[in-house]
Subunit: 301 residues, 2 copies
């Protein structure tokens, strides 16, 4: 395991990808207190909300208030999801260091999720990326369903590369490749990264795993063996699966930290503070979060 | 991933290691019906119960009736846990293909678990192994706490090797190395297997992971990269952690099968039948089992 990275950067996506898949409404004041806890955990990147139309994601309807009222830590880069120019304008007004745009490698998933074809999505994202860059912001391009699509099945790495190519051409700084339905096994990660890293530097690639079938930690191990050292994760494993009520969502930051710190990989994140922030949001949600190490530590206390 | 095994043999330990850590009593008739379902799933090895004094494991107090009344599939090898000659005699009377003896690589865990020092345990196991071999049975030696001990912390590979050496000298056919508290990360698996495989053929080694912190699937991946192709797992992830109520126990057979079949590794096991047997025992226990892919499939139906 001598080829593993010495440092891994975690982007905490719980306040965005986590909450957007939870049915419960978390009070704005509680969200703010919780994001403030995350800001003091040592994590370097936090995606604090989404400026998507609240009709689509009611759980994040308070993005502007959250963005205005969280206490910004100068050592943390704050991002938010923006679907279009209107969303970007809100995000810029409220304050972001980084804009996250998103689309799918699967035509059908893109249609279902964004209500547009891939070809129709490109010009919109091009505008958003250009305006965000002009405003001096970093931009991440999320590409979802990079392994499997709930509608189309297996997605070929060439389909993923096609979308990455366009996003990079439009000016994104990096790409987050999403196992949106948490279905990949390590051989799929290998196959995709063999293709992706033939074209792009590993520094441009973030992996975004969901733990729906319990494969995420093994997939992260595999990605690290390819030199990938940036991962998205969600505190406590917050956020379910929109296709299966009760199933696990994003890989839990807690479990990722257990892995990384156990391997001697530096993250700068205080596990204890992550546990505390997990218990805080777990109590507000009123249900046990799926993280294994959270369940262990909580019950062992 | 060209170095992965083509075939992996799973030993289903749910009826033993799973149930022994569950607080609920499962009716004998239900256990039998359930083990019969497992016998028809394509799994080649089932540990059906434990002949430990029922005072210590009340959940398995009906081992003799279970052993007598399950319908034996000639394609399945049936094993049971035996702590001493008395337990072995019961097991032989009832019927086993394989006896499983057990001890710990950690002196303190051995004392806590067996109430004897490691040195005091050896002559007892020597007798059991010899009598089982004389009766024409296979014998597996479980070595627990091979990575970390809840009392002593890190266990050196040399401590594990010391116990393996003795068990093999006494005549066990193979050794199951147990991450009893589910604490290992892949670098620990690597370190242990580097040592173990310098001395023993990989065919003699079975890995037994618990998923307490969500590392088990990644640890199995690592072990397979060392050529290990025998794993213990528990249907649905049945069986908790005696040190932390509510935490996950044995790695779930369901999740292991999702990994293996996804990697194109043959097991001979029908995932659908494993799901059905999981739902059966989940209903009897009256609580959700921790397997991620079980939760996914159940909720997606």
């Amino acid at each position: 395991m001598s080829n593993l990275p010495k440092y891994v950067q975690i982007k905490e996506v719980g306040p965005r990808d986590g909450l957007q898949n939870e049915k419960s409404w978390i009070e704005t004041v509680d969200k703010i207190a919780w994001i403030n806890m995350l800001s003091e955990s040592g994590v370097k990147e936090i995606e604090y909300s989404s400026f998507v139309n609240p009709k689509w994601i009611p759980a994040l309807a308070d993005a502007r208030i959250v963005g205005k009222q969280i206490k910004r830590n100068p050592n943390v880069s704050y991002s938010a999801l923006v679907p279009n120019l209107k969303g970007l304008d809100f995000a810029l007004e409220v304050g972001i260091d980084r804009a996250s745009v998103f689309m799918s490698a699967s035509e059908t998933h893109n249609l279902n999720n964004i209500n547009k074809s891939i070809a129709e999505t490109y010009p919109i994202l091009k505008q958003v990326i250009e305006e965000a860059k002009q405003a001096g912001k970093l931009v991440t391009g999320y590409v979802s369903t990079v392994f499997d699509c709930p509608h189309e099945g297996k997605i070929a790495p060439s389909e993923v590369l096609r979308v990455c190519e366009k996003l990079l051409e439009f000016g994104v700084d990096d790409i987050s490749l999403g196992d949106t339905i948490g279905s990949a096994v390590p051989s799929q990660v290998e196959q995709l990264l063999e293709g992706v890293l033939r074209h792009y530097q590993k520094e441009k690639i973030i992996m975004h795993f969901h733990d729906t079938r319990g494969m995420a930690i093994a997939n992260i191990m595999t990605a690290m063996q390819y030199g990938i050292n940036r991962f998205d994760s969600s505190i406590g494993g917050l956020g379910g699966c929109p296709y299966a009520q009760g199933a696990a969502g994003n890989v839990a930051t807690n479990d990722v930290l257990y892995l990384l710190h156990g391997l001697g990989i530096h993250t700068g994140i205080d596990e204890q503070k992550i546990q505390e922030a997990s218990l805080y949001i777990q109590e507000k949600l009123g249900k046990a979060l799926p993280s294994r190490s959270l369940a262990y530590i909580k019950s062992a206390i």
